[in-house]
Symmetry: C2
Subunit: 237 residues, 2 copies
DNA sequence: GCCTGTTTGTCAGCTACTGTCAAGATGGCG
DNA sequence: CGCCATCTTGACAGTAGCTGACAAACAGGC
């Protein structure tokens, strides 16, 4: 899902009965601040734009800015989906293929955000791949999203708790999506996002075959015949 | 490869004929600073340790600290491999299966760093997954490493410049490695790193079947029929 | 129109990080 | 051995991101 930051939600409004109205207002303010910020970034560049600049453009003090966004980076990463509680967003229905559900869900979310404001998504995405700190946080957020899904899916299919299979598959899926989004952004959104997404996933499915061969090769050539149970247990407090 | 940061090398010693001796001294200093820093992190925690603390422990001014490491984070991420020029580290020989070579190379590097100082690798790795900022940079660095390899491998197999296949495969490989390393670190290094690596890659190869089915399912249910004839070119010399 | 809880600005402060410049260490070389 | 050119270092000053504390302005419900 596009930019979903892990909802570390350092703001003081979790779980307390902030009236729905105030919640909406808050979101509108965030959108407005984000808009101003992105405009400034486009003008002067991300690094050259200070938080004071943004706050000023948004007609608030910089202290207030930080009450909306925990950091300057988050202004780029944030989107409405970050407001929704995790469960609502990534609900997996038991029964049907959970992986397929996941993929569909992600497509939906992309489609939704894209269709609400294509320009906005492109701008944010470009920054997400362009500015090193943001790029780092973006990738991190994506990979971190796997965690919750993992639990859900594991439950859904009654998976071995301690297996590598599932996490590896999910991580691979996510990285395929990242490749797709990266390409989309690099081509200035000229290609169809959903299509790229599908292609990337298809490519992933296809790779696996190649990989099977490769694993053979690698195992065969293994420095240590791959059975290097050698290394000592190194405990730690 | 363990912690390989992209060599953004903002230091003033690139390409100029810094004598080999000075270079070595520099590396030894870095190691010493890193050691002190990690000790402090273990004591007081990463956030609670200021750069001044580290500099002091390393008997230098904080200004000097920054002449060795571009940021506090880098003290954790850095390892000797960052000193070596990229090409030397990731040389791909044409002919033999490049993916297999890549995998072998990564295993070697892990093995090398591990065997030089297991504790050190574990400590750094734990921090790399534990401290959010570092985690972000770590994942970013890993994924970013794909770039150069991509070019090399693409050349090696005369690949379609603009295909998704190769990047997706590499990204999947890297994310499998990350899952492996994450598990290794979470279990305090009690499991064998290389073994986990192999297992994760095997798991990735195994996901193929699941994914193929899933892609079917997803495509069938596709919001927009998406016409996934997409399953693009498989080529591979 | 008051009362309570939320939002805001101000101020003061910390830490990561950078430019500058002069002083100090070092290695190569005569 | 000693000198010079070349790093390397420390001191100082400054910027930007970010936080805690507190008091003033501002709701919305009654």
């Amino acid at each position: 899902m596009p930019h979903q930051t892990i909802s570390e939600d350092p703001e003081p409004n979790s779980a307390n009965g902030t009236s729905d109205l105030r919640q909406r207002k808050r979101i509108r303010t965030k959108q407005m601040v984000q808009k101003e910020a992105l405009r400034l970034f486009a003008d002067k560049g991300y690094d050259q734009t200070t938080v004071d600049d943004i706050a000023h453009a948004a007609a608030m003090s910089s202290r207030t800015f930080f009450r909306y966004f925990p950091s300057k980076e988050d202004v780029v990463l944030w989107d409405e989906y970050d407001e929704r509680p995790m469960q609502e967003v990534l609900q997996i229905r038991p029964g049907e293929d959970p992986l397929a559900q996941l993929i569909m869900r992600v497509r939906e979310i992309f489609a939704d955000i894209y269709q609400k404001d294509p320009e906005l998504l492109l701008t944010r995405t470009k920054l997400s791949f362009t500015v090193p700190e943001i790029r780092a946080r973006f990738l991190n957020a994506q990979l971190t999203l796997i965690g919750p899904y993992l639990a859900q899916i594991a439950d859904a299919i009654g998976a071995p708790r301690d297996d590598l299979q599932l996490p590896v598959t999910l991580a691979a899926l996510y990285s395929a999506m990242i490749i797709a989004v990266e390409r989309w952004q690099r081509h200035d959104g000229r290609e169809d996002l959903l299509r790229l997404l599908d292609d990337a996933i298809a490519a992933l499915a296809a790779s696996a075959t190649d990989l099977r061969d490769t694993v053979q090769t690698a195992a065969a050539a293994g420095t240590r015949p791959t059975k290097p149970k050698a290394v000592a247990a190194k405990r730690k407090s």
